[in-house]
């Protein structure tokens, strides 16, 4: 069984939900990322989404845009990020790691070369925001053959027919984008999310993670009551921005947010 599937099965048996933090790799410095990943696991993270920076992050709001710029200022490359995952795996063989970003930095390596290197480094899945299932016909079998899950987005605007299609094309989990907008947008509407998640559950079999607009313990708790996983990104990356000159303080600040979310989700 793959790590992501195992993770959701274990959580389900414990009647708990997945806490899924997102940070951009190499932000603000390459050395920060691996220790931060371990600290996030200690603070209660179940799966880590590691952002692969891109020069043109057109689905991201200003917070993640700046994170990309900071990471690219010292040339954080996809290969650097695979090295980080490899280093993380030396002492953590269980926490799933998903690379999240845009297609071009993957495509430039070549699908086969990327998938082999990612699997070898210990990556479990990829989520490419500008790759809908219709355009993934070539890359999907390559990821599959290398044991990598391919995670697709579902949006508030996604039709029922497309939810079915996406549910069949993806593996690992589905990422429900809770609002129309870019990352770091305004707060989500919990009732609306609950009703959409219900719809998705009836049309697709995969676990459902919800992201966009989750900022604090309260919203994390509310979403965890209806979804299988809670994704938190911009709220954490804001701390990296705040402490970019003082990177030693980043883990603590992010850990505090995650611990509070964990506690709220588990009660």
């Amino acid at each position: 069984m793959r790590r992501i599937e195992r993770c959701f099965e274990r959580l389900a048996s414990e009647n708990r939900k997945a806490l899924i933090p997102f940070v951009t790799a190499g932000d603000p410095q390459k050395e920060v990322t691996v220790p931060l990943m371990h600290d996030m696991v200690k603070a209660g993270a179940d799966i880590i989404e590691l952002g692969v920076p891109f020069s043109d992050p057109m689905a991201d709001g200003p917070v993640i845009q700046l994170a990309c710029e900071r990471a690219l200022a010292h040339n954080t490359s996809t290969r650097d990020i695979l090295d980080m995952v490899k280093a993380f795996r030396q002492t953590d063989s269980e926490t799933p790691v998903v690379l999240m970003g845009y297609l071009n930095p993957v495509e430039v390596m070549g699908y086969e070369a990327f998938a082999r290197a990612a699997a070898d480094a210990g990556v479990d899945g990829v989520l490419l925001v500008d790759l809908p299932p219709e355009e993934a016909l070539e890359v999907k079998p390559v990821m599959d053959a290398n044991g990598l899950d391919i995670i697709f987005l579902v949006a508030p605007t996604t039709s029922d027919a497309r939810i079915k299609l996406i549910g069949e094309a993806g593996s690992g989990y589905l990422y429900y984008v809770s609002l129309k907008g870019v990352t770091g947008s305004a707060a989500l509407n919990v009732d609306e999310v609950a009703s959409r998640v219900e719809t998705i559950r009836n049309l697709a079999k995969l676990p459902i993670g919800v992201g966009f607009g989750i900022k604090d313990a309260e919203s994390a708790q509310a979403v965890s009551r209806v979804a299988d996983g809670v994704v938190v990104g911009s709220a954490l990356v804001n701390q990296i921005d705040k402490f970019q000159k003082e990177p030693a303080a980043i883990s603590g600040a992010i850990g505090d947010i995650l611990s509070a979310m964990r506690t709220a989700m588990d009660t």
């Binding site: 043109d56 709001g61 996809t78 071009n104 930095p105 219709e134 987005l153 579902v154």
Partner: protein, 403 residues
């Protein structure tokens, strides 16, 4: 090319031109693109829609635009006759308005009260603000902060037309960043907003519908050539940034085997300096702004900054159909640098009394070289895609003149 494809049959049903094009956007936009595709499929052959479009082109834009034989310049160059397709004479001064008229009609049919656009040189922004004013639509235009500086006149024109110009300060502060920001706006306001993309790039169906609206250029040029020169031209030349004026001229001739075609990219300081905007000449295929196409990128797949004296060509990608036409060998893609373009700008102004846009000057620079290798019984049609009024401050600056 032994087996020539039927060029009129592309893109295919899923929006691809061979390996290029497609629909690489985040899931939130897929519904809106499906809706646009369905609406366009329904309207493109609808007689009333065609009639409305043709009426606006005739009475609002002032079409057909003339095909003008630049006799004095041709004689000076010595070689083929150089004909200019006078898109500079359109209302708002460039070819861009052909497309904004078409897309604004679509916005109206879809009941969207707000339009947004990205702009580089400002021509597409002005053309969008113009049709928005006429139809009473709310209009916001994203423009790179650097371009806002370079194109002050067009910024003010847009404001006078009632549009709000939003300077974009992220990334390289030019056209590509304006397009990122317009996409972010669209994903947030997808219910009430129509995104009027200015070139033949972006996700399907944009490369197709922008091309279809711009094909009026080539259809007219074909008819005018037959009438005025008595035969089809031997060669077509157009500048290529995103490539909308070029595809508009080329497309109606693609199945005419005897017509050679040259797309001219911006070589900036020179291709070998790396400071240019010529993805077809010196880039490689990748994915940006919703489509697979030739791009300027580094070894890690990050998009690199482009350089050109002309803001309208300062873009690291190119329409996907051009990528495919390059690979199948139907169109030759070449480049002209800043100096060559500036010298063509001055030459046409002095010899023919026509001041071309700096974008179009790249096409003129190459046409001059090409004409010299051809004979006086041959004809070249150059797309004079826009007029140069907007570039006067840029050229004055290069000449060291302050007002």
């Amino acid at each position: 090319m032994s087996e020539r494809p039927d060029f009129s049959a592309f893109p295919d049903a899923s929006g691809h031109f061979g390996p290029y094009g497609g629909c690489f956007v985040s899931e939130t936009l897929m519904g809106a693109l499906d809706e646009l595709k369905a609406m366009y499929e329904r309207l493109k052959d609808d007689p009333q829609f065609r009639a409305d479009f043709d009426y606006d082109l005739a009475h609002y834009v002032g079409r057909p635009s003339p095909l003008y034989l630049a006799e004095r310049w041709s004689k000076q160059v010595g070689g083929a006759n150089i004909w200019l397709k006078r898109e500079d004479l359109n209302h708002t001064g460039a070819h861009k308005v052909n497309n904004t008229i078409g897309q604004a009609l679509l916005a109206k049919h879809m009941g969207k009260p707000r339009v947004i656009a990205e702009t580089g040189a400002g021509q597409h922004g002005v053309a969008t603000a113009t049709v928005a004013a006429r139809l009473g639509l709310k209009c916001q235009v994203y423009m790179g902060a650097e371009d806002v500086q370079r194109q002050k006149l067009n910024v003010y024109r847009m404001k006078l037309l009632g549009a709000e110009v939003i300077p974009v300060t992220s990334g390289s502060k030019t056209l590509k960043d304006a397009m990122n920001e317009a996409m972010r706006d669209w994903v947030t306001n997808v219910d009430d907003t129509f995104y009027i993309i200015g070139t033949v790039a972006g996700p399907h169906p944009y490369p197709q519908l922008v091309r279809d609206f711009q094909c009026i250029i080539g259809r007219e040029a074909r008819e005018q050539s037959l009438k005025q020169a008595g035969k089809l031209p031997d060669a077509l030349v157009a500048c290529v940034g995103g490539g909308s004026n070029a595809i508009g001229l080329f497309h109606p001739f693609l199945n005419d085997d005897g017509v050679a075609m040259y797309g001219v990219e911006a070589a900036g300081d020179g291709i070998d300096t790396g400071r240019h905007a010529a993805p077809l000449s010196a880039g490689r295929p990748g994915v940006l702004h919703g489509n697979r196409t030739y791009l300027m990128e580094d070894d890690n797949g990050q998009i690199i900054e482009t350089h050109s004296v002309s803001a309208g060509l300062d873009y690291p990608g190119v329409g996907p159909e051009h990528s495919w036409l390059k690979d199948v060998g139907r169109v030759q893609y070449v480049a002209a640098d800043d100096q060559e373009a500036l010298s063509a700008f001055r030459e046409l102004t002095r010899v023919e009394g026509i001041m071309p846009a700096l974008e179009s000057s790249h096409a003129l620079a190459y046409a001059k070289k090409l004409a010299a290798t051809m004979s006086p019984d041959q004809n070249i049609v150059v797309n004079l895609s826009g007029r140069g009024d907007k570039d006067i401050l840029t050229v004055a600056d290069i000449d060291g003149i302050e007002f």
